[in-house]
């Protein structure tokens, strides 16, 4: 493998035609013009079928989503990334999509996120049970069309538990535990471990059987409660038990120092972390200090700004990390999914990511690092 390979992290924005079509609406002229522009830019043929589908309000939504995946895979390939996926074109988002496929949850009404923004948060009201492994057809489709290696993202058990209300498992805690804090911890532990064993592990097995070579487990909630990091790690390890595919974890917008040293016990090959928007904690030095031997997916694109990072500054960031950790285990990626950026901005950022990684390789030709 070449030095400094590049990867995407998760979701990208859904095109207007895809959003409207999946809502049962007809895309407008601007949406269709956008479709044509990107089809040409990405070299996608045969969009006549897609337009025919979009013109019919009673179209086959799954086929439209197939087209959404085709556009996203080609988007990443055209940007030049070494490992690609479908930008989560079929998923509503990373919480509700899997939870709807697990028995034991109940959705109450809305909870406020901030201002007039709300989300639906489920409560676990019975022992969790996998209805059927999810993301399988999605993975098979991506593998059937991708021209580059594929990595599939999936939400991790700790985040699913942390973003849910916990009713069932709280009821199962031994009555002799009267301290409410300890009761909550015990319930969270039981809930997360059940998600790992009963839901994630069989799903990962099914994904592997469907051809997954690399699975990225997303755990954005990882560092939310520092005292629960042992739960995060134990559940993660249970999730990947027996899995041979490459496993990575993506954690964003967290104080990574809170995760160590427990994190060293996690059975993971690769950690994809934010680096561009790290504030006052530097993941590279943390890796060095902790002697973390695993691959580091270095976030070098800020996903919350339209400012396009230049190839030169990306190169500098990569080399800065390489000087500390050595070049062999550094990957380059955005801090997180680029779903809040337009396709034009996201594409420009990813192109520069690829170019910056190339410049970093050039800079190291014949030169020792460090």
């Amino acid at each position: 493998m070449k030095l400094f390979p590049t990867q995407e992290i998760g979701s990208i924005a859904k095109p207007g035609w895809l959003v409207k079509a999946t809502r049962g609406q007809r895309p407008n002229a601007a949406d269709l013009a956008d479709l044509d522009r990107w089809a040409e830019r990405l070299g996608i043929d045969g969009t006549g079928e897609l337009k025919t589908l979009l013109a019919d309000e009673h179209h086959d939504k799954e086929r439209v989503r197939d087209w959404g995946a085709i556009f996203a895979v080609r988007f990443f390939e055209a940007a030049g990334l070494d490992v690609v996926y479908d930008g989560e074109a079929r998923r509503v988002e990373m919480y509700e999509y899997p939870v709807r496929r697990i028995a034991g949850f109940h959705f109450y009404g809305h909870v406020r996120s901030f201002d007039n923004k709300y989300y639906r948060k489920a409560a676990v009201v019975d022992r969790v049970r996998l209805v059927e492994p999810f993301h399988i057809d999605e993975l098979k489709f991506v593998k059937s069309i991708a021209r580059r290696p594929v990595k599939i993202p999936i939400t991790g058990p700790y985040t699913l538990a942390d973003w849910s209300f916990n009713e069932h498992y709280l009821k199962t805690v031994d009555a002799s535990v009267t301290d409410l804090r300890k009761r909550s911890y015990a319930a969270k532990h039981a809930f997360t471990l059940d998600l790992a064993r009963e839901v994630l592990n069989p799903t990962l097995e099914a994904l592997e059987a469907a051809g997954a070579d690399w699975i990225q487990i997303d755990e954005p909630a990882a560092a939310t409660h520092p005292d629960e990091v042992p739960i995060l790690v134990e559940a993660f390890n249970e999730s990947v038990r027996g899995i041979k595919a490459k496993i990575s974890i993506h954690i964003c917008y967290s104080n990574y120092r809170l995760l160590y040293p427990e994190m060293l016990k996690m059975r993971v090959d690769h950690l994809a972390l934010e680096f561009k928007n790290t504030g006052d904690f530097n993941v590279v030095q943390l890796f060095k200090d902790q002697g973390d031997p695993r691959e580091l997916g270095l976030g070098v694109l800020d996903v919350h700004t339209d400012v396009i990072e230049t190839p030169e500054e990306i190169k500098d960031k990569i080399l800065e990390a390489a000087r500390v950790l050595g070049p062999e285990k550094i990957w380059a990626n955005p801090d997180c999914g680029l779903r809040t950026r337009t396709w034009d901005v996201a594409f420009a950022k990813l192109r520069n990511l690829v170019e910056g990684a190339g410049l970093a390789r050039e800079a190291l030709k014949g030169q020792p690092v460090g």
């Binding site: 009404g109 909870v111 406020r112 901030f114 201002d115 007039n116 409560a123 209300f165 709280l170 409410l180």
Partner: protein, 318 residues
């Protein structure tokens, strides 16, 4: 005598959720939303009255977050981008202090459901002065001491205006003291609150949440308020040597961060254990934090259960 009440923002009903989204999308008017909120304020007040709660809140449905009435209503500060609200999957707009803060005494009253509260024994919620400063960004060029003094003046004016409007109880909410204990000067926080409460004619409380109050208890009970609130889902009280004689402790035993409705026996037991552990004069049952992190239906059920537990607690105290 044991009692019970709510401690902060109540969730929005599905109707208000829908209307507030519609307002943002230009499909409903602010007046329509305001009318729906007024309806819900009346429902929330009736709910508390039916549950037999001792102090009544309006639900703070017009508050976008704990700090927003101040960050939008006080000259010298404004709300900025979103920041995570402690260890929750929810967010607030961080106030930015750009110059000297000018007390008005009108910021909270402007968003209070005063009409709906008329005739009730009502309570209001403000951030503590040190929490207001800690959760804001100081871009004013003024020193930390000057900004804290400004916050004291602002909150003093707000609290007095509330008292003049008939408020019986002012709660100062402070999730900062117990979550960032190592970075907070507790003595300075106490002194600031003392300047706010000095001469205030209402009953007062300092309510802490989201963090472990255990290590700070001996400090917290010296704060110049009648009542101290403790989040029992984040605190370890066992073995504490702190004594809260002369104080009422607020047992945050109703979990505002989980949908499971607690049973009466658990709530009563938790309240009594806390009172006994601290040797407090009295104990009140409260949610550990605002109920806004729950859907409406769960908050409604928990409010009813809070009333049932308070009734049981009172019966045992007789």
């Amino acid at each position: 005598m044991p009692f019970a009440h709510l401690v902060g923002i109540f969730p929005r009903s599905e109707r208000v959720v829908e209307l507030s989204r519609a307002v943002d999308r230009g499909r409903a008017t602010a007046d329509e939303l305001s009318a729906a909120i007024a309806d819900d304020e009346r429902r929330i007040i009736a709910l508390q009255q039916e549950a037999g709660l001792d102090y009544i809140v309006d639900g703070q449905l017009r508050w976008q977050d704990l700090l927003r009435p101040l960050s939008t209503g006080i000259p010298g500060m404004h709300p900025n981008g979103i920041s995570r609200w402690f260890d929750n999957n929810s967010f607030y707009r961080r106030p930015v202090i750009t110059g000297p803060l000018q007390p008005t005494g009108r910021a909270v009253l402007a968003v209070l459901g005063l009409k709906a509260l008329a005739g009730t024994r009502w309570k209001a919620v403000l951030p503590s002065p040190s929490a207001l400063v800690a959760l804001s960004e100081n871009a004013s060029g003024r020193s930390a001491d000057e900004v804290l003094a400004d916050a004291v003046a602002v909150l003093r004016a707000e609290a007095r205006a509330l008292a003049d409007a008939g408020c019986a109880y002012v709660q100062f909410s402070d999730p900062v003291l117990v979550t960032r204990a190592s970075r907070i000067d507790v003595g300075r926080a106490r002194s600031a609150l003392e300047q706010v409460t000095d001469g205030l004619r209402t009953r007062t409380a300092l309510h802490t949440f989201f963090g472990d109050a255990g290590p700070l208890l001996s400090e917290l009970i010296r704060f110049p308020v009648h009542e101290i609130g403790i989040d029992l889902y984040a605190s370890t009280i066992d073995g504490t040597k702190a004594r809260a004689a002369g104080k009422t402790v607020l047992a945050g035993a109703v979990d505002g961060r989980n949908s499971l409705v607690e049973d009466v026996d658990t709530l009563v037991d938790q309240a009594r254990r806390l009172r006994d552990a601290l040797g407090a004069d009295d104990v009140a049952l409260v949610p550990n934090c605002d109920l806004e992190l729950l859907p409406w239906e769960c908050a409604e059920a928990k409010t009813r259960r809070l009333g049932e537990a308070a009734t049981a607690l009172k019966a045992k105290a007789r």
